[in-house]
């Protein structure tokens, strides 16, 4: 199986039967793995498969309960990230740790040296490093002025400047533009060519095709598959990851994952052939100006017909959050009007908006979508608890019964409707929120913002299914997502937001991919 040239090289990092438990949960079970110098090693798995735990064990954040690690032939037992760093292991986390009002070079210097700050020296080193790996980075730019992709580059440079032997990246592409993803994968390849080992954690198969030398697949905390020729064995890897057949995957889910190219047929969803007689939703010149006087959303005009799914593409932070907040009654617009059929909803509060028939799946599930400390049942009916009262008292049994029915219908898996919402996995939480919003007595308009973020494949397919079902029942759907593949797979047409304005719109067709990507980056169509 193994490439004969590789067997001559000693593995850089070896994990032998490593196990990590959190209370009763076994996050990683008897995992064995070896990582060679100079390779890009992808760790593939769904959410909760143990990918992050694996990274955190290597980086010294957690201590394994069982098993051993060897790094460069010696026993490796880091007691914290600083041990890992001294040994030559660096990590880019999913969440950045940058000081926003400091410059790039100051952020890089932070924690690297003591004594005098030789900014100039560091800036030159930084530029040289960026050149070596083929990207540009202004050492004196302030972090707050950088795009997400550029910020990630700063994180990467922070690691590379230590000249690590092993470089860990935990889901690095989740926040990037299509072009930026390609650039990042390039950087990974270059780092590997310089002899450093790169461990790339991902759940996107397209990235594996492009960059991986070898792949290890995790499922339920166990290593379930390995491959030395991942590009050729992609189907087998997917099967291992989701424990099912690729063909049985929802087509949209599959294309959103990058398993197959998104097809022009929308998974059986007929595109509306004729213009509907009346628009279900009419958004007219909506603008949002924030407290600092910055225009966050600029003259957003859009109409959505009944049964139509319109996708909003764009890099995060280009007005999507403001659009969703205004549509869901959580913020007021500075200008513009919103109509739901004949009813104007522009100035209605959340309660009235819900009553009017607008369901909202918020982008930030934990802040806006649910109260994680409360029970599943309470969360599933949070917006209509009054339906379960007599004289102010809660009819708890009835609530539990209704919640149980809804949980069955939407496949929300929990021990009971009475457990805390926080005990549910991300996918089940999202299905529960979706269930609550989709089952509004008369749903006319569903606003779904980043509805599949952080979900595993099965849950993604379920979410798409429910969104489509709502749309077949005549609801208009606005799908806001930073995953272009998702929009192409699910939506009927796509509008692109850039700096709060609609840059352009087009059919949700895979052939438009590059044009949409360009619009997302700010080029007029």
């Amino acid at each position: 199986m193994r490439d004969p040239t590789r067997t001559l090289v000693e593995p850089l990092l070896v994990l032998q039967g490593v196990t990590k438990r959190f209370d009763s949960l076994v996050a990683l079970s008897d995992a064995s793995l070896d990582i060679m110098p100079g390779e890009v090693h992808c760790i593939l798995g769904e959410n909760g498969a143990g990918k992050s735990t694996l990274c955190n064990l290597i980086f010294g954040v957690h201590v394994p309960d069982d098993g051993a690690m060897r790094f460069r032939g010696e026993s490796y037992r880091p007691s914290g990230p600083s041990d890992a760093l001294t040994s030559g292991i660096a990590m880019v986390h999913q969440h950045f740790s940058l000081v926003h009002d400091m410059t790039v070079v100051d952020n890089v210097i932070l924690g690297q040296q003591s004594g005098f700050v030789k900014t100039g020296v560091w800036a030159r080193r930084l530029e040289r490093l960026a050149n070596d790996y083929g990207f540009a980075l202004d050492p004196y730019a302030k972090i707050e002025d950088l795009s997400v992709g550029e910020r990630q580059r700063v994180e990467i440079v922070k690691c590379l400047i230590r000249e690590p032997r092993l470089f860990l990246l935990d889901e690095p592409t989740a926040v990037l533009l299509p072009d930026e993803i390609a650039a990042l994968l390039n950087v990974c390849r270059r780092v590997a060519e310089s002899g450093c080992a790169v461990v790339l954690v991902t759940h996107k198969l397209a990235e594996i095709k492009k960059a991986a030398d070898r792949v290890t697949v995790l499922r339920g905390g166990r290593v379930v598959a390995r491959s030395d020729r991942p590009a050729e064995e992609i189907d087998a890897l997917v099967r291992a990851m989701i424990q099912g057949d690729v063909k049985s995957l929802d087509k949209s889910a599959a294309s959103a994952l990058g398993v197959v190219e998104a097809g022009s047929d929308h998974a059986g969803q007929p595109a509306p052939t004729e213009t509907p007689a009346q628009e279900a939703v009419q958004i007219d010149g909506l603008s949002v100006i924030d407290g600092q006087g910055v225009t966050r959303l600029d003259n957003f005009t859009l109409s959505i017909g009944p049964g139509e799914i319109v996708g909003v593409a764009g890099v995060e932070g280009n007005g999507q959050s403001e659009l969703a907040a205004v549509l869901s009654g959580m913020a007021v617009s500075s200008r513009g009007r919103i109509f739901l059929g004949d009813i104007e909803t522009t100035h209605l509060g959340p309660k009235e908006i819900t009553a009017a028939g607008i369901g909202v799946v918020p982008e930030d599930r934990h802040t806006v979508g649910c109260v994680v400390e409360m029970s599943v049942a309470e969360n599933m009916f949070l917006n209509r608890l009054e339906d379960f009262t007599s004289f102010g008292f809660l009819r708890r049994k009835e609530l539990m019964q209704a919640a149980r029915e809804l949980m069955t219908r939407f496949d929300v898996r929990a021990v009971s409707p009475e457990v805390a919402f926080s005990a549910l996995s991300g996918g089940n939480q999202q299905k529960a929120v979706l269930a609550r919003e989709i089952t509004l007595p008369k749903l006319l308009f569903l606003l779904a913002a980043q509805p599949t973020r952080g979900l595993d494949v099965g849950a993604v397919a379920a979410v798409y299914g429910h969104i489509r079902a709502a749309c077949q029942d005549g609801a208009a759907v606005l799908l806001i997502s930073s995953e272009l593949d998702e929009l192409i797979a699910v939506a009927d047409r796509i509008v692109v937001l850039y700096r709060g304005r609609i840059m352009g719109s087009c059919a949700a067709d895979p052939r438009e991919r590059e044009r949409i990507g360009a619009m997302m980056a700010g080029q007029a169509p």
């Binding site: 009654g329 959580m330 509060g349 806006v368 994680v372 409360m374 917006n383 379960f388 809660l394």
Partner: protein, 360 residues
């Protein structure tokens, strides 16, 4: 039926929970430390303990006085728990008591209520006290809703205003000071008329338990039921845990903040009313005597449980009575009782660390 049986066994089980045991152990440990301190001060421990026991359960009068104290602590504590459900920290009990006391005195003395039938002579001043406390706390609620002012700051500062307003009331003859007949006239109000004084449960002044006790018990039960069984209680919790999600779900944040703070204020005001109409009869400077802060501590220690508030309030009520007697009889400074009370708070808070995040 099975439900009630289940809940009875559940609550029995609750009494023996480790959290309860740990709390009891914490109180005992603090008491032992207190005894050690008394010993270190050179006071006879036996005398001090005897005085303490005498002052708490030695006479029927002592028991009644302790319980009457506990009533004020309990009401303020229950108010704290209600506000706390919405993640609000009402530290304004002291001011709410003062405003309640002022309102009760004013209405009892000058409201022409003494001649009314059927308990109205004391019920109307009590109602006035509750309303005064409610309005006072609502100021903090409105500030929070309109300007986002932190309620810890606003309720605390409102307390200072109320306490000085009380001072003004008893210093100024135009307000509540009794008519100045000589330069020796004390800065206090007239004594309230007899019909406005709270009726005693036994009718006997040697055991002066007043109707505040049953009223407080009923309020505690209602508060516990509203918090646990009603949609309002649920919505209050939702706002407390996650105001944004609650608001998206159509639960009005403003309404929840205002209602919970107003309820807490009303209970604080009622506590002031009970103290004045049931116990002190004359409005004086310093009439609230720190009860608002003791009630706040009772609420804090109870960690969200109304039953816990009752327990803590009784503990503090008896502790204070015993402390006063220790000072008078055994020469132990009241400050020491304050120290012991502080020790209890610290040990209980420490015990909470062992109990973990569990609610008692």
């Amino acid at each position: 039926m099975t439900d009630t049986m289940a809940s009875v066994t559940k609550s029995l089980h609750g009494v023996l929970r480790p959290s309860v045991m740990i709390s009891v152990a914490a109180v005992l440990a603090a008491a032992l430390l207190g005894v050690a301190l008394i010993f270190a001060m050179g006071v006879s421990v036996l005398d001090a303990v005897a005085a303490f026991v005498d002052g708490t359960i030695g006479t029927p009068y002592a028991v009644a006085a302790s319980i009457n104290r506990s009533i004020a602590f309990a009401l303020v504590g229950i108010g704290f728990v209600i506000g706390n459900r919405a993640n609000l920290v009402n530290v304004g009990g002291e001011g709410q008591i003062a405003m309640g006391g002022i309102a009760a005195t004013a209405v009892a003395l000058y409201g022409h209520v003494a001649g009314l039938p059927a308990g109205l002579p004391f019920l109307i001043p009590l109602l006035a006290a509750a309303i005064a406390g409610l309005l006072w706390a609502s100021v903090a609620g409105v500030l929070k809703i309109k300007a986002g002012t932190n309620e810890v700051i606003s309720t605390l500062l409102l307390s200072f205003i109320a306490v000085w307003f009380l001072y003004w009331c008893v210093q100024s003859p135009e307000l509540l000071r009794k008519p100045m007949t000589s330069s020796a006239t004390l800065p206090e109000s007239l004594e309230i008329p007899d019909p406005t004084k709270l009726p005693l449960l036994t009718g006997d002044y040697s055991f002066p338990l007043h109707i505040g006790l049953p009223v407080t018990v009923i309020i505690a039960i209602i508060a516990a039921i509203v918090l646990a069984k009603t949609v309002f209680g649920l919505q209050l919790r939702a706002v407390g845990f996650n105001p944004i999600a609650a608001s998206r779900a159509g639960i009005s944040y403003s309404r929840m903040v205002l209602v919970s703070l107003a309820a807490a204020g009303a209970l604080g005001g009622l506590a002031g009313g009970f103290m004045l109409l049931g116990d002190q009869y004359v409005l004086k400077d310093g009439f609230s005597s720190g009860y608002g802060f003791d009630g706040l501590v009772a609420g804090l220690l109870a960690r969200g449980s109304v039953m816990g508030v009752i327990a803590a309030a009784l503990l503090f009520g008896f502790l204070r009575s015993g402390g006063i007697n220790m000072e008078m009889v055994a020469g132990v400074p009241t400050a020491l009782v304050m120290v012991i009370q502080g020790l209890i708070v610290v040990t209980l808070a420490g015990a909470a660390f062992f109990i973990g995040g569990r609610r008692t």
